[in-house]
């Protein structure tokens, strides 16, 4: 059971979902500093300005991409009854999310390393 794509899909979607909702709360708090002016906003943004947090943003992008594409796959299976290729659709969702993470993560990595492009 634990090796089926259905279970892996469920576990990854749930894990990324919990990570994303916790991040959402942090995001609302960070952006909230903007009401106190530019200095307060930029100071709060600086808390997350280290190269390590920029690398974590790549994992965040991976979580968003996986959750979104696996969610679209789930919608096709459950709402539109596209049940036949559901296993291949999971591989496709995973591959698209991985590709998007690489494409979107590269600028983030270069930025984290201080390399201009």
């Amino acid at each position: 059971m634990f090796k089926t794509t259905g279970f892996i899909s469920f576990a990854l979607r749930r894990f990324t979902g919990v990570v994303l909702v916790l991040y959402l709360m942090l995001h609302i708090w960070v952006i909230g500093a903007a009401t106190q002016g530019a200095e307060a906003f930029n100071r709060r943004m600086e808390v997350f300005a280290s190269p390590a947090t920029h690398v974590l943003e790549i994992f965040l992008l991976a979580a968003v991409a996986y959750h979104a594409f696996d969610g679209i796959r789930l919608l096709l299976v459950n709402a539109f009854r596209v049940t036949g290729p559901r296993k291949s659709m999971w591989y496709a969702a995973f591959a698209v999310a991985a590709l998007l993470t690489v494409i979107g993560g590269l600028p983030l990595l270069l930025y984290a390393l201080g390399i201009s492009y």
Binding site: R14, L24, N42, A68
Partner: protein
């Protein structure tokens, strides 16, 4: 509207909101500073989009968290308390987020210049 239908509808909306958000706000990385945020949020349409995005994300996110929590047997017994707690957190976060978004105004932008 049932819980799963709400999760589905908010999920579809979030795919569109998130794509827009990533392209407009986060890419290229490193260009996000106070003035840029202020310029964008001086536009009422962006305010409306961001408030809708915030509400949709909170509904979907906290709804998903509720679902994950009540899957655990001990927590499932207190599902009403869990729902109440998450609703309170959601309302507080939505209120704080909306206050943040509506605080931006052309007057604030002019004061910076």
């Amino acid at each position: 509207m049932g819980f799963f239908r709400m999760q589905r509808l908010t999920a579809v909306a979030l795919v569109a909101f998130m794509a827009l958000h990533m392209v407009v706000v986060h890419y290229p990385p490193g260009h996000l500073d106070f003035t840029r945020v202020l310029e964008r949020l001086a536009n009422p349409l962006w305010k409306a989009i961001d408030i809708a995005f915030l509400g949709t994300a909170l509904l979907h996110g906290l709804g998903g968290l509720y679902d994950a929590l009540i899957d655990m047997e001990q927590i499932a017994m207190a599902r009403r308390a869990v729902a109440g707690g998450l609703a309170t957190i959601g309302l507080a976060a939505f209120g704080y987020g909306v206050y943040t978004v509506i605080s931006f105004s052309p007057a604030a932008l002019a004061a910076l210049r």
